[in-house]
């Protein structure tokens, strides 16, 4: 699958700010093709912010984001649209369209971006939904589903166009352990069979150990990456005691 050794996503000296308030200060990292890359950090440390800058939702204060070597931030028009179509995003809150059924949600990108016949779109959308275990619910409205089901439907929609990269913001938050484990399994099978690259924001330690090839950990105080590597490595050998505590699930010492 790996055609080149070149990273599929590369973030260079990215600084993210809302107004004047800097959330992420000058971070750089690469995501390799076909890996499951996990972004970690305490709540409010800027994980979602980083993700939203990587997908071009907000322009960064400075720095660049390259997706398959193409600069997402400088791109415009057709070029930008092509880059945007090369990845799918599952938002933290699902972000399904409330006025459409699940299958219509999944079919929307197919209708807009492909020339497939009606029947083909229906079959594809059905397959994506049954992949996340929602086949029987295709005709329901998002509001008729539980939170976890909405999350899974959002993942199905992110996969509608078979993108090479999928970004997921806290996909397993609010899911029961079994569903969450099934989701991990799904991520790994998609990576293994389709070679999809995943960039996942998550807190769940179990899921991090199960899926992550590599993690970066954001620090709220310094606004930088505090640790980077394989999760087992960080658990046992991280220089920063806070990182070790995170991976060993220990409470903070009181001086904080």
């Amino acid at each position: 699958m790996a055609e080149t050794g070149q990273p599929i996503i590369s973030v260079r000296h990215l600084t993210a700010a809302y107004g004047g308030r800097v959330i992420i200060d000058d971070v750089s990292f690469d995501v390799a093709r076909g890996e499951v890359f996990v972004i970690l950090g305490g709540s409010g440390s800027g994980k979602s912010t980083l993700l939203k800058h990587m997908i071009g939702l907000y322009p960064p204060a400075s720095g660049e984001v390259l997706i398959e070597g193409r600069d997402l931030i400088q791109a415009f028009g057709d070029e930008r649209e092509r880059i945007l179509r090369s990845f799918g995003v599952g938002y933290q809150s699902g972000a399904l369209f409330g006025s459409m059924t699940l299958i219509e949600n999944v079919r929307l990108p197919l209708e807009e971006f492909t020339d497939l016949p009606e029947e083909a779109m229906n079959v594809i959308a059905r397959l994506k939904l049954s992949l996340v275990g929602l086949g029987p619910f295709a005709g329901l409205m998002p509001a008729e589903l539980s939170g976890g089901m909405q999350k899974r439907a959002a993942i199905a929609r992110a996969m509608a166009l078979d993108p090479g990269i999928i970004f997921l913001d806290e996909p397993s938050a609010g899911l029961d352990p079994i569903t969450s484990a099934e989701l991990d399994h799904l991520i790994l099978s998609l990576r293994d069979t389709l070679g999809i690259t995943f960039v996942v924001v998550t807190h769940e330690l179990a899921s991090i150990y199960a899926i992550a090839d590599r993690v970066i950990m954001l620090d709220k105080r310094t606004k930088k990456i505090i640790a980077e590597g394989r999760p087992e490595e960080l658990r046992d050998h991280a220089a920063d005691p806070w990182v070790r505590r995170f991976f060993n699930r220990q409470a903070s010492e009181t001086e904080e």
Partner: protein
């Protein structure tokens, strides 16, 4: 394998070989499948006996390609034939297995059930009935809530009342003033032409005074209130409903009517009479322009206006304005609180609030006309 290639030089194709097997080739991604879907299904439907599908020339297969294979298989199941897939690469076979593992059947409800015409009529009737009875219920509940607010003003969220007074009242002044000025100007000008023919243009102030104070002032102010603030109440509360903020209020033991509707209705009740006065003032200023351009002095205009207008005209106008504001703000809040789910429901309830508000204004205005006539004021 990089999502979508820059240039689609290799396109997918489907042919039937001598033995009647389908031969798929090329990239079976969404672009490729768009080309081969219809011919492949036509070829498959036209063939007989076991359906062989040769995929050895398929260079790339993703969800779209897998869907085609799934559909071909399903076609065979429907017609009671065997389906033999051959030549899939290992990872392609794994992908197909992944997609078909959790699949029950494709022939499920992909569209909403069809509703017959008769049933639609019935549903419409039931919905109408429910709307009307809801409205009556809401009227009762909100009267109780308002009454309770009057009885113990400490329970009212006055901070919300004042901030709504600002958005629905102060911020509405420019548009109210503009429309009032234009209406006064236009009414005076339009009536000046025929009245002048009879030398009766001196009566323009009389006409303007009564029509503005009694009728147009409260009516137009209420219409503007419905379009500006009734809609805003519906959208705001509707969005809160969609985000389950209303549920959160309820479970905290805070009555949404008291918490959300009462402050808005009270604010509308306070500001609408003031807005009506403001509207009338600007209408008279507009009329003054026309009258002075006809050669009368400002003093004449004001004296005529004062002579023709009674306290009863002013009072009836303000009472109407207050009743209209209760109706408009109440219906706005009600539409918000009965919002369904999803973004489009917010749009629907905003529309409903304006339409219902206008209907209620018109109905109430008619009732007032009869009532005032009967009372002789």
């Amino acid at each position: 394998m990089s999502g979508h290639p820059e240039v689609l030089t290799i396109i997918a194709a489907v042919t039937a070989d001598a033995a009647g097997r389908l031969v798929l080739s090329g990239r079976l991604d969404s672009a490729g499948v768009a080309l081969v879907w219809t011919p492949a299904l036509a070829l498959a439907a036209g063939s007989r006996g076991e359906l062989g599908v040769d995929c050895s020339a398929v260079t790339y297969l993703d969800g779209a390609g897998a869907s085609l294979l799934v559909r071909l298989r399903q076609l065979c199941v429907e017609t009671g034939r065997e389906c033999a897939l051959a030549g899939l690469a290992q990872d392609q076979a794994a992908l197909l297995a992944l997609y078909t593992a959790g699949l029950e059947s494709l022939a499920a409800e992909t569209s909403r059930p069809h509703i017959s015409y008769l049933e639609q009529v019935g549903r419409f009737g039931v919905r109408m009935w429910r709307d009307v009875s809801d409205l009556v219920g809401f009227l009762g509940e909100s009267s109780v809530a308002l009454g309770r607010a009057m009885a113990s003003p400490g329970l009212v969220r006055w901070k919300d009342v004042w901030s709504t007074c600002e958005t629905a009242g102060v911020n509405a002044m420019p548009i109210i003033g503009l429309i009032g000025f234009l209406m006064g100007l236009i009414m005076a000008f339009q009536s000046a032409i025929p009245l002048k023919r009879f030398g009766a243009d001196i009566f323009i102030p009389d006409m303007l005074g009564i029509s503005m104070l009694r009728e147009l002032g409260p009516l137009v102010t209420a219409i503007l209130l419905a379009g500006r603030s009734g809609a805003a109440f519906a959208a705001e509360i509707g969005t809160m409903k969609v985000n389950e903020e209303v549920s959160a209020l309820t479970t905290m033991g805070l009555d949404p009517l008291r918490f959300l509707a009462v402050p808005r209705v009270l604010a509308a009740l306070f500001v609408t009479p003031i807005l009506t006065i403001f509207f009338n003032l600007f209408a008279f200023i507009g009329g003054a322009f026309v009258v002075s351009s006809l050669g009368y002095t400002l003093t004449t205009y004001l004296t005529r206006l004062q002579a023709s207008v009674t306290v009863g005209d002013i009072a009836t106008g303000l009472i109407k304005a207050m009743v209209f504001s209760l109706l408009v703000a109440g219906i706005g809040c009600r539409s918000g609180l009965t919002t369904g789910t999803g973004a489009s429901a917010v749009g629907a309830s905003t529309t409903a609030s304006v339409v219902a508000g206008l209907i209620l204004i018109a109905v109430a205005d008619g009732l007032f006309a009869v009532l005032f006539y009967a009372m002789g004021i």
